[in-house]
């Protein structure tokens, strides 16, 4: 009798680190998918990541890759700088919704519009995780946060921003897709989308933007399994999954 490994650790994931993420936070799943995509494409030596401000601020300790840390929301601008001087490198940002859709809204819009081959992995968990659960631009109507204790209202706080739909109105992007990490079927699709977003850059095919619906069990006040259900029932109806733009 012998055994075959069917699913194990991908080399870019640093096997001996304990991530600081809360139990069941799907930031970890998104990290793993990025590592798998990079390893499957064989671009570990070429890849340079830009870390955000937010819970993923320590991403550079979890992936065995070159990384640079950007100021809050400025990761796309840093990515452009790197790509300008090293067009041979595969440059990507990994950003939360407070980082990308709030303080970094200007950077991402102009970055996408410029249409260079870059890859953005955008984690939408509908909250500011790191700072303790404040309302994000993506917080849903009715959703409670520490800065809208009885729930977000359109009158007081405006409407949740749909980044994929917004960016898809621009000429710039080559590929925009929204995926989720709330169940295994979605995770498989998320993997394929993230891989394609890197593959596009390898083939010089323009700007790729992947929005990943992700959980924040701690600040949502839910157990990890319940948080996945909450995402399914509340986020996906407002943030529909699918491809919003594809050059092909």
């Amino acid at each position: 009798m012998s055994e075959t490994k069917v699913f194990g650790m991908t080399p870019t994931w640093r096997r001996d680190v304990h991530t600081h993420y809360c139990p069941g936070c799907t930031h970890g799943v998104a990290h793993r998918l990025v590592c798998e995509a990079i390893d499957e494409l064989g671009i570990r030596d070429e890849a340079i990541g830009i870390a955000p401000v937010g819970c993923a601020v320590l991403i550079h300790q979890y992936m065995d890759l070159d990384f640079i840390e950007a100021a809050h929301g400025r990761a796309p601008a840093v990515a452009y700088g790197i790509k300008a001087v090293r067009p041979d490198k595969i440059v990507f940002t990994y950003q939360g919704d407070g980082d990308l859709a709030s303080i970094g809204m200007g950077e991402i819009v102009h970055a996408v519009n410029r249409a260079w081959p870059l890859t953005v992995v955008f984690i939408n968990n509908a909250i500011y995780g790191m700072t303790g659960g404040q309302m994000a631009p993506t917080t849903l109507l009715g959703q409670k946060a520490t800065t809208c204790l009885s729930g977000r209202t359109a009158e007081a706080n405006g409407y949740p921003v749909r980044m994929c739909e917004l960016l898809a109105t621009l000429e710039g992007p080559a590929y925009i897709e929204r995926v989720a990490l709330s169940k295994p079927q979605h995770i498989l699709k998320a993997k394929a989308a993230i891989k394609k977003a890197f593959e596009n850059q390898v083939n010089n095919k323009g700007f790729s933007f992947i929005e990943v619906l992700s959980t924040c069990p701690t600040n949502w006040g839910l157990r990890p399994v319940e948080a996945c259900q909450w995402l399914e029932e509340n986020m996906i109806p407002y943030y529909p999954l699918g491809v919003f733009k594809d050059f092909e």
Binding site: W13, H18, T19, Y21, P23, G24, C25, T26, V225
Partner: protein
């Protein structure tokens, strides 16, 4: 159907239960032991694993390795 087994890096598990909920064969559970960080790690507690890999693809902490047992 394929037969499999799951290996758990116990010290990295955070007891979140996502793998337990995701396993289509219900062969995983949260164990009674405690790891050095104070979490109760997941374990495979019965036969019936089909080596589908779903648990490992669901785990946020890369705790699980899945093997297919070849007869």
């Amino acid at each position: 159907m394929a037969k499999g087994r799951v290996e758990v890096r116990e010290e990295f598990c955070k007891s979140c239960g996502l793998c337990v909920a995701a396993c289509p064969k219900k062969v995983l559970r949260i164990s009674d032991s405690i790891n050095p960080r104070g979490y109760r790690p997941a374990e495979q507690f019965q036969d019936g694993c089909i080596a589908c890999g779903i648990c490992a693809r669901t785990c946020p902490d890369v705790v699980l390795t899945v093997y297919r047992i070849d007869e």
